[in-house]
């Protein structure tokens, strides 16, 4: 296990280095002179020189990349050109909305998908199964931001249960803050829950057909006992993988859903930065998102190998 973990860790480090190089190259090398790009074509020569100095553009490219990487490792993401404040602080502030939103959605999606998938598998072929499959088929086809808009019309405008957008802020207390994240989280969770319920159902049906379930039944276990004690645990392995993969979609989805609800999260930050040509912020946010995906997948791989020892030698 330790050897496997070490190998995976080495590959994690390589992935992070290559990903950071790709992002650095795309943002800082392809546009030519980032300072000129950020200031536009009418920029004065002395302003440009000042910005180049401030951004540390006067050193060779590879040195800039190394400076960027070492800065990030130490928590220094540079200074935003438009806001004149440290990028790390700006991201940190907004992460307190985007990350809880993604986790809230992940929790909701799991809470919806598990019972739905288990029930559908247990009563395979019944009207309930058909219902779950029908609803999830629709759930996969609905764009989450559109579902969010429909929920705003119903729950915010007509029923007035929730506000149509904005964030109460964590200073207002846990529950008011969570309340303003509820509609966004539900919208984000719907397609993910649909996918997860389908995976849960088919994994469980596959497992229920295995020999060890027949043995368990032959030992005298009821169908329900065999399912809860043996099938569920084994069916969880593919389900966990999907949950891990979904995390990246949830982070990306959160960026889009934030636009529907006017939430001041990472999404707002990155779109504002794009229009203001604040490359430092865009670069840092993109790196952060990619970092999150790579690290979560690493964690899932480790959890996977821990649950199922056969997988340790597989790669």
């Amino acid at each position: 296990m330790l050897r496997y973990a070490f190998r995976r860790f080495a590959s994690l480090c390589i992935s992070l280095i290559v990903a950071s190089a790709v992002i650095f190259f795309a943002i800082e090398v392809i546009p030519g002179d980032p300072a000129r790009y950020m200031l536009g074509i009418n920029a004065q020569e002395d302003t440009l020189a000042a910005l180049r100095e401030q951004l540390g553009l006067n050193v060779p490219t590879h040195q800039r990349y190394l400076n960027w990487i070492t800065g990030m490792v130490q928590g220094d993401f540079g200074t935003s050109y438009t806001y004149r404040s440290p990028v790390a602080d700006m991201i940190g502030e907004r992460l307190w909305i985007s990350l809880p939103l993604a986790l809230y959605a992940l929790t909701l999606s799991t809470l919806i998908a598990f019972p739905a998938g288990i029930l559908a598998a247990a009563r395979r072929g019944s009207a309930l199964d058909a219902g779950v499959m029908g609803v999830t088929q629709l759930g996969v086809a609905v764009p989450n931001f559109w579902f969010a808009m429909l929920m705003v019309v119903l729950f915010a405008i007509n029923l007035r249960w929730f506000s149509a957008g904005g964030f109460a802020g964590w200073e207002a207390g846990f529950f008011p803050a969570m309340k303003s994240l509820t509609l966004p989280a539900v919208a984000l969770a719907l397609p993910q829950a649909s996918i997860l319920a389908r995976v849960m159902r088919s994994a469980l049906i596959d497992t229920l057909g295995e020999d060890f379930i027949r043995t368990a039944r032959a030992k005298g276990l009821t169908k329900r006992q065999a399912m809860w004690r043996h099938a569920l645990r084994n069916a969880l392995i593919p389900v966990l993988t999907i949950i891990g993969l979904q995390f990246s979609f949830l982070m990306a989805g959160a960026i889009i859903i934030e636009q529907v609800f006017f939430l001041p999260g990472i999404g707002r930050l990155v779109f504002q930065s794009i229009t203001q040509r604040d490359l430092i912020v865009v670069e840092s946010v993109v790196m952060l998102l990619v970092f999150a995906v790579i690290v979560v997948n690493f964690a899932v791989d480790l959890a996977y190998a821990w649950v199922d020892p056969r997988l340790r030698g597989a790669r």
């Binding site: 795309a26 088929q137 086809a141 764009p143 960026i255 779109f271 040509r277 993109v286 990619v290 997948n297």
Partner: protein
């Protein structure tokens, strides 16, 4: 041997068609997909009104005999915009699937032919790396450098499709490389590249068609999301995602502006997904039995 195979195919073909016609999923899915594809094609030669024609006097109307689906805040006919919008959605998704298949399938075949080798390792690790960049992140990167546009959406979704097809192709090809008929081809002196093209590819084609349908529907959803946040198709070209973005401030007074483009997306994606399910059952009856 090849003659015998041909015989089997010749007898299997009509049965496949009959099964296709009997598959409810496939028929409903194909009907929905053809409907929207037909609308997109029709929009090249005819739309009820011009999509750039602004008519403020007729703004924000609900469905009527003149405007079947109503008008937007500029008085533009929504049906016409949906028809032209279908064009953008379908075109972006098709090209993105094309990029994914065009690059992913050869990479997957090469990795499988080189299984266990350095090339295989490089391709698979490269795949993992691309997987770490969701379409939205790629679109953000491209837009930050070159500005927004439909081409960004195509590239972003296309790049994300590459590892999907590469992995699928490699996985399916790996099991084929162990089969006797491939061994026979090797004994006959065929090289890895020729075997990949002549024997492996035809045998994974069904799988690729099914996955292509799924990626097509995901592409439609992704294009809508990118256009919605302003990274995809740009004005004045109508697109479903941007119609939704424009409707957002008017949703209180004119909810139909938000409902109609959304329904168009849902029905198209649903159609493609049902078609994908139907095709999978059709090509691989074992899966149907197992479900």
């Amino acid at each position: 041997m090849s003659e015998a195979l041909l015989d089997i195919e010749a007898t299997a073909q009509p049965a496949l068609w009959r099964k296709a016609l009997a598959s409810r999923n496939l028929m409903i899915g194909a009907a929905l997909t053809l409907f929207f594809a037909g609308m997109a094609l029709l929009s090249f030669v005819w739309t009820p009104y011009s999509v750039t024609g602004v008519n403020i006097a007729a703004k924000l109307q609900t469905a009527s005999a003149e405007h079947w689906l109503g008008t937007d805040h500029f008085g533009r006919d929504i049906l016409s915009m949906i028809m032209v919008g279908a064009r953008a959605s379908i075109a972006v998704a098709i090209v993105a699937v094309g990029i994914g298949m065009g690059l992913g399938v050869p990479l997957g075949l090469a990795a499988a032919a080189n299984r266990g080798g350095l090339l295989d390792e490089i391709i698979m690790r490269g795949n993992d790396l691309v997987f770490a960049f969701p379409s939205l992140v790629i679109a953000i990167l491209i837009t930050a450098i070159w500005g927004p546009g439909a081409v960004n959406a195509i590239i972003a979704i296309g790049i994300f499709n590459v590892p999907v097809f590469a992995r699928l192709t490699r996985g399916a090809a790996l099991s084929l490389w162990k089969r006797e008929f491939i061994l026979a081809a090797r004994v006959a002196g065929k090289g890895a590249a020729r075997i990949s093209v002549e024997h492996i590819l035809p045998n994974v084609a069904n799988l690729l068609i099914v996955q292509g349908t799924i990626q097509f529907s995901l592409g439609i959803l992704a294009e809508a999301a990118l256009s919605y946040v302003g990274l995809g198709t740009q004005p004045p070209v109508p697109s479903w995602g941007r119609m939704l973005a424009e409707s957002q401030t008017l949703i209180y007074t004119s909810p139909h502006l938000a409902v109609i483009p959304g329904l168009a997306i849902v029905l198209t994606v649903l159609g493609l997904n049902l078609m994908g399910d139907g095709l999978r059952d059709l090509f691989d009856p074992r899966i149907r039995k197992a479900r």
